[in-house]
């Protein structure tokens, strides 16, 4: 097979995969008797047509940056962490416990503490599957899936029986104190010139972007990152080079779990301001699509997270204004994972053919010129 030029590999392959996913999504909409053009218009209007829409798109994107980075770090160690959902929900628990512990004097202090709480709880939830994978060889994919279900049950129990204030009906924690309220984009000077209405996107966005840089630096500029990537490329070579597989497996999963947990400062602390059931709403799973779409690079993850932020806000608008069920988002998510992750080779083969054709045409022309 012909080798693709680097620019095609980096940009063209994901774009074509995305296009294929979009085409199939359109066909799905046609099949259930809806208009894809109309649907796309509603999505663009709702997600990107106003600062208000952008406020939601960026809010979702913030969560997806965290979960996308979480999957990315694990992927580099050749570990497939499907447990982002459970880790994010446990992260939410960490945030809630921290926020409810004190009448926080200022949001900056509360944010620091809550971030730590979210990261620790998320990492702890990833630690057991990590240990079982490293020490006992239980496959991380199965154990992390199981831990998602266990996390959901644990949170139902805690919210109904433990954290729910007396006299409250719905299974949720108490409201967080005033001091733990994060500024939304409409509260921040300069940003409030654009975002005049209250939006859910908040300062966590900047933490997410900073984490993208941190993850990049960690993976490509530190010894640990090198070890993680080396281990991911070849376990036996890494072992031979003196890298401890147990240590790297556990550390990579701890980082991954911490990142997934940290998304909860966005939704639990920044938006709901109390812990609700199923707080992560599938964002942990979206991380898989985001990481694949972003080619496992933090920069790509940020772009893919924006795309999925658009898709999520747009999908919500579809559920609001049309009769297309909100589950359309999950279909698109599945298609993106399918094309960017599993059918990657198909797209490459296709492109390789096309580039091959161009090349041979050029070769024939230059051969003709020489003669």
């Amino acid at each position: 097979m012909d080798r693709l030029p680097k620019w095609a590999d980096v940009a063209l392959v994901p774009l074509i995969s995305l296009l294929l996913a979009a085409v199939i999504s359109a066909l799905v909409l046609l099949a259930i008797g809806q208009s894809p053009v109309e649907a796309f218009k509603v999505m663009v209007d709702g997600a990107l047509g106003s600062p208000y829409g952008w406020g939601y798109t960026l809010y979702y994107a913030t969560s997806f940056i965290f979960t996308g980075l979480a999957v990315t770090v694990a992927f580099h160690a050749s570990l497939f962490n499907i447990g982002g959902e459970g880790q994010a929900q446990l992260g939410g628990l960490g945030v809630a416990l921290v926020c409810l512990a004190f009448p926080w004097p200022h949001w900056t202090v509360a944010l620091l503490a809550a971030t730590a709480g979210a990261a620790v709880f998320g990492a702890a939830w990833a630690a057991i599957p990590a240990y079982l994978q490293a020490k006992r060889g239980s496959h991380i994919v199965i154990t992390t899936i199981m831990f998602n279900y266990i996390a959901a049950a644990l949170l139902v129990y805690l919210l109904v029986d433990v954290l729910r204030p007396a006299g409250q009906m719905d299974p949720a924690s108490a409201r967080f104190p005033e001091g733990a309220k994060l500024p939304a984009l409409n509260d921040i000077p300069l940003f409030n010139l654009v975002f005049t209405k209250a939006v859910p996107a908040n300062v966590t966005l900047f933490i997410a972007l900073a984490m993208a840089v941190v993850v990049w630096a960690l993976l490509w500029r530190t010894r640990l990152g090198y070890q993680i990537r080396a281990f991911g490329k070849s376990e036996s070579a890494a072992k031979y080079a003196g890298i401890n597989p147990v240590r790297i497996t556990i550390i990579a999963m701890l980082i991954s779990g911490a990142l997934a947990g940290m998304m909860s400062i966005n939704n639990v602390m920044g938006e709901a301001e109390r812990l609700l059931q199923n707080s992560s709403e599938g964002a942990g799973f979206i991380g898989i699509a985001v990481a694949l779409m972003g080619r496992n690079h933090p920069f790509g993850v940020v772009l893919a997270a924006l795309l999925f932020g658009f898709l999520y806000q747009g999908g919500a608008e579809l559920g609001l204004w049309t009769s297309i069920p909100i589950e359309m988002r999950i279909v698109v998510q599945g298609l993106v994972i399918l094309f960017t992750g599993a059918l990657d080779m198909m797209v490459r083969m296709l492109l390789g053919r096309i580039f091959g054709l161009f090349r041979s045409a050029k070769a024939i022309r230059s051969a003709g010129g020489a003669a």
């Binding site: 060889g137 154990t143 139902v156 589950e327 999950i330 599945g334």
Partner: protein, 322 residues
């Protein structure tokens, strides 16, 4: 716990073990041929929706069953194309198909019936009804054995008996036929199979197709026998539990049956908090019981499996020329 309660629990265990067993055997064929499949869940879900929808529209459970198998086969074909033809990552393909099934089932059910993503409740011939085995009524009064036969063994839908018959059949196919030998070989050493002049791709597609059929049975059972209709996310992780059972059983059919019965029993426990409470003498929170099958799955995977060695070429796409 008295004898009657125990019988009830065992009866529920059989009911709940059936979809696990079908999905587990489905995974067995695929993984023995070297194709990991974490998309069992999605295939079951798609089959459940198709079976529920077609049974509701035609009033025939058998038509529903065929539709379920068809839907599951479509998903199996996509998995095959992605992981065999295009040598993609089998885990990622499985995850993608699970999401696709999760969304598509609601979309289609909503487009067809407009009942919030469910299919209409099934009655009469649209469901697989209990089969009373011969002699069950007559033996009912024989102490101990009679109620066991009547309550536990008899009175299930035909799909339950089918599932348990597929266990010896699978054993026979895998270990006593030429096809089975080749299937196992292709999961251990595809290059050897290729050298012998047998198509690796053909065998693997055959295995994935069998997986599709069995997942179709599992899904159809969920919607037309265990419950009366399809509801969103109704498989609730059973595909993953089946995978865990498969590992627990070390990819062997008879052991798979025992593993699925065990996991089925865990699920039956979760449905009876009163029984659990009576046995352990402590009030157990219901969410804990809900999580119990998953917790026990992790425990089983963590400690009691011993060394579970998967088929050697599992997860690796086969590249013909090096």
């Amino acid at each position: 716990m008295d004898y009657a309660t125990l019988l009830q629990m065992l009866d529920t265990t059989l009911r709940l073990a059936t979809p696990l067993l079908l999905a587990c055997l489905a995974g067995l064929y695929s993984e023995r041929a070297g194709i990991f499949d974490i998309g069992l869940e999605g295939k079951m879900l798609a089959a459940a929706m198709a079976a529920g929808a077609v049974a509701a529209l035609t009033g025939s459970a058998w038509a529903g069953l065929l539709a379920g198998i068809g839907a599951s086969l479509i998903f199996a074909a996509i998995h095959g194309i992605a992981s065999i033809t295009f040598r993609g990552n089998q885990l990622i393909s499985g995850v993608a198909l699970n999401f696709l099934a999760s969304g598509m089932t609601v979309l289609i059910a909503q487009a067809l019936f407009r009942q919030g993503g469910r299919t209409p409740p099934l009655t009469g011939d649209a469901r697989f009804n209990p089969v009373i085995l011969p002699g069950a009524e007559a033996m009912r009064d024989i102490p101990f054995v009679g109620p066991l036969y009547y309550e536990v063994i008899s009175g299930h839908s035909v799909l339950v008996y089918m599932a348990f018959l597929i266990v010896p059949l699978t054993w026979w196919v895998l270990f006593r036929t030429r096809f089975g030998l080749r299937l196992r070989a292709v999961g251990e050493n595809p290059a050897a199979v290729d050298t012998a002049g047998v198509s690796v791709v053909g065998l693997r597609f055959a295995a994935v197709a069998i997986t599709g059929v069995l997942c179709g049975l599992a899904g159809a059972y969920m919607a037309t026998a265990l419950q009366a209709g399809f509801g969103r996310e109704m498989t609730a992780g059973r595909g993953y539990i089946a995978l865990a059972a498969l590992i627990f059983a070390k990819w062997r059919p008879v052991a798979a049956m025992w593993a699925c019965l065990l996991f089925g029993f865990f699920q039956a426990l979760a449905l009876r908090p009163d029984v659990v409470q009576a046995v352990v003498q402590v009030k157990v929170p219901v969410p804990f019981l809900d999580a119990l099958p998953y917790i026990l799955t992790v425990l089983v995977l963590a400690g009691f499996v011993g060394k579970a060695i998967p088929p050697r070429a599992g997860g690796e796409p086969y590249v013909k020329e090096r």
